[in-house]
Symmetry: C2
Subunit: 522 residues, 2 copies
């Protein structure tokens, strides 16, 4: 396994008065001697030179050079740093996933490929809006863009400090940072105004992001360190998805794969080694507890699992952290709706069965509702309920996702039967209960063995391309292999969406395994 | 005449919802259409992207791109800036000469090659030392390097503001900055510690300076603007000399040329299209009025010209600004010594003729002296005098220069007779009186028609390489064509130097034209 980066220990003979060679020339000669496959290397920042005379003399002309290998063979290598002594044993990289909610980071030993430390932190931009849309709105305020840029950098710096403290190294020991984020997060990190991402026709400023010096952005890093950002495919199919596709190496497998990242903005990729198509569909915030009367994010006190007794209609709930409940998170919502559906408490339109008389089912301000937890058993000052409006919101969200799969598959002439694999990416994907998600129609009703959970695929992609020279180069290629399909004004999508606003679907032939579970007729 | 830079007006078709192209891709396509010889251009700073969406939309997708053409044909062009509308008519460059004493700048119209405005300012580093040695000493104090870096940038910014105000343009309208300075000035500008330039074996950190973003150094410029620095040949033969050699195109002429820049650090280049050798000799500060009892820099009140009546030994003096005198500058010193020599007031050893009894010749604290101006006729509170010690200092300074020419010529097997041209560069060279300089032995006694004054050759070099695409590329080549010779421990040089400590020289056969002017015998 070759690495993109290389430490070269080059002994440079000390200067004499007659040789008339600058420190830099001496170093370049040393590199040439020590690293035969190295094209005449370049460098491009005075900071490198500022430290060079001291690094050379401090270690009696024995230094280690960190090189960034050229992309193509004819492209020169770049000198990223020069360290006194032989430091070839120490080569660190940081993989970062810049999520709208959470930022995750991995510190890696680039010599061994091992993960040394890991950390996550809430994206400090959250104070300015929960989702990408509200962040984009905030960015249009005076100073808003700058604030959001600084906040995401602050979050990345928190992670850097934490992993470095854990390994007792300095942030300036990290040689490369590889990051992936959605298109909005990438724009904000680089301080690029996302104004036109939000307005039709939704144009990003760029998709292939420039090689940036991390320190220029305010990231705690040696001035020479580069921050690489995964390229994006389209305005709403970003570098996080490209990184995820890269992580599962879809582009190298003959298997037809459906890659799904469920969220407010749902991203879908379908394809294999021969072709890949992607799309994004706006599902709304229901999966993150948004727009749900008692909804909340997946944190302590959120109801994440739910059972209903088919006889008594009494509930059993499980919360994150096993505390008294505060509200309902996305996975809890899916549990609740699928259980209510299977028990016949709600029908396939998501309406409460008016024939059932039960003390937990009542008519509230916004129509019928089911009381999950009575006020006295909660950590909040009210009953925790689920309403028909909530169920409608979930229905629309899962309907958008499902219509997205269908539209994309149809566009390439395939059906769900043609799928060899369904890969669930993202934090939400990791917590999803397969049967229940299929029961409400969020996931297609295919052989359960075809489903794979990949977790934070975006971080995984950043990790593998830091670790492996060849995969580093694949990075840009992957984004270019994926063709985007726009759903915003797509008629097929609208038709599929309307048909999907039913639990699990108006066309029950698509959900044979669910058919048997639902109560028969009235 | 081709230009390294090119403005390309590229009409970009506005986006539609289906085309899924980022602003940057749209721009790149436009460039490809508009500029056929343009290799896939790159860009490398997020700042470019930050302005891009607005530039495109502000001007309805009609923008002008400023490109930095790749050095070699296989190297991609770089996008330096994108401006709304068609601004191909406006393309400005700044040439800067960073002198130890004075910084000079020229604002150029890069389309026409015309000089639009010119300005000079004292290098604000002067407050921290008059010459490069004292600047290097100051740089070793805590914060000293930073201060010196900021001061030279402050000076460059003064010049930028002045020339921009004159042409009613903004500093951000300047697209390129081409600078030349000696090795110490170049190091200080880039914030590189010159510590090892001052200690044997006098090693510069680098000779080929990196392509630097001007704004990174604090220069008032658009974030994308590059500052190019002329490469240097050796620690004491810097980019200013390379630029000067470049300006007079020595490397393209068959004529054997002696290029001289007289100063505290005297630089000498000899050669032609086939070969070039250079050296630096430490002449001491006498040419700049340093180490001279009544010496001063060439500013208002400095005696710059002097005549003595061969009969009465009474002086006639001319000062800069025609004010009452304050002191003696370098060119004045040469006038005075050559006149005293020709009049027989001093002998060829620089000693006053003890046989002359005159009220202006007297014995002072440091030996014999001649009163140039009585106190009452000065702007200072004392007589303005020239002493034997002063004459000794000048003798050593001119001796070092002359020994430098000799040593360099001998090293390549030539004599003064082989010279086709003698080019005098630098501010001091512009004010020098040829006959008098030859009379004291500062310049070789060759045919007067062979002498050329080129003035600020360093600024001229920066100007021509900004103006002309081909010359821009020559820049690095010129420095590589010049071979440096170190005089510091050179025995030949020491012998020549000892022989030159005589007015004009111990070997009078080298100065036939002076022989006749001097008084015969005692």
């Amino acid at each position: 396994m070759t690495h993109r980066w290389k430490s070269v220990s080059c002994g440079c003979p000390p200067p004499t008065i007659d040789d008339n060679i600058s420190d830099l020339q001496r170093l370049l000669r040393g590199i040439k001697k020590g690293c035969f496959d190295c094209v005449e290397p370049t460098y491009d920042h005075p900071q490198l030179l500022q430290g060079l005379p001291f690094a050379l003399r401090e270690s009696n002309w024995e230094v280690t050079v960190i090189l960034l290998r050229g992309k193509r063979s004819e492209e020169p290598d770049r000198i990223i740093a020069v360290e006194p002594g032989d430091t070839t044993g120490q080569l660190y990289g940081l993989a970062v996933d810049i999520g709208t909610t959470t930022v995750g980071g991995l510190l890696m030993d680039l010599n061994s490929g091992k993960v040394l430390a890991e950390s996550t932190a809430y994206n400090a931009q959250i104070a300015y809006g929960e989702d990408v849309i509200s962040r984009m709105i905030y960015s249009q305020r005076p100073g808003g863009l700058k604030t959001l840029q600084e906040k995401v950098v602050y979050t990345i710096n928190q992670i850097i400090e934490k992993v470095c403290r854990e390994m007792i190294i300095s942030p300036s020991d990290i040689s490369y940072i590889m990051a992936a984020g959605n298109t909005v997060m990438s724009h904000l990190l680089l301080g690029i105004d996302p104004k036109y991402l939000r307005e039709a026709p939704y144009v990003p400023t760029c998709s292939q992001f420039p090689l940036t010096r991390a320190a220029d952005l305010g990231v705690l890093a040696h001035p020479s360190v580069r921050l690489f950002l995964y390229p994006s495919v389209a305005s709403y199919v970003g570098g996080d998805i490209v990184s995820g596709v890269h992580a599962c190496q879809m582009h190298k497998s003959p298997k037809v794969t459906l890659f799904i990242d469920i969220g407010t903005n749902g991203e879908i990729v379908v394809g294999n080694e021969d072709w890949m198509m992607c799309t994004a569909c706006s599902a709304g915030p229901a999966f993150e507890g948004g727009g749900i009367q008692c909804g909340m994010r997946a944190s302590s006190g959120a109801i994440e699992n739910f059972h209903i007794s088919p006889d008594t209609f009494e509930p059993m709930i499980i919360t994150i952290g096993r505390t008294k409940p505060r509200g309902i998170c996305g996975s809890g919502l899916i549990s609740i709706v699928s259980e209510l559906l299977e028990a016949g408490v709600i029908d396939q339109q998501g309406k409460f069965n008016r024939k059932i008389s039960h003390h937990r089912i009542r008519e509230g301000v916004s129509g019928y509702e089911y009381v999950l937890v009575w006020e006295k058993d909660t950590l909040v000052g009210h009953d925790i309920i689920i309403t028909e409006v909530d169920i409608d919101n979930l229905n629309r969200a899962k309907g958008a996702m499902y219509a997205g799969y269908q539209t994309l598959l149809e566009a390439v002439g395939l059906t769900f039967d043609d799928l060899d694999r369904v890969i669930l990416a993202g934090n939400f994907g990791a917590y999803i209960d397969l049967e229940r998600a299929i029961c409400i129609g969020l996931l297609p009703d295919v052989d359960r063995d075809k489903f794979y959970y990949i977790g934070n695929a975006s971080l995984l992609g950043a990790q593998i391309s830091l670790d492996d020279h060849k995969r580093f180069r694949e990075r840009s290629m992957v984004s270019q292999l994926i063709t985007n399909m726009e759903l915003a004004e797509n008629i097929e999508f609208m038709n599929h969406y309307m048909a999907a606003l039913f639990l699990p679907h108006t066309d029950m032939s698509l959900f044979p395994s669910v058919q048997d579970k639902l109560p028969k007729g009235d």
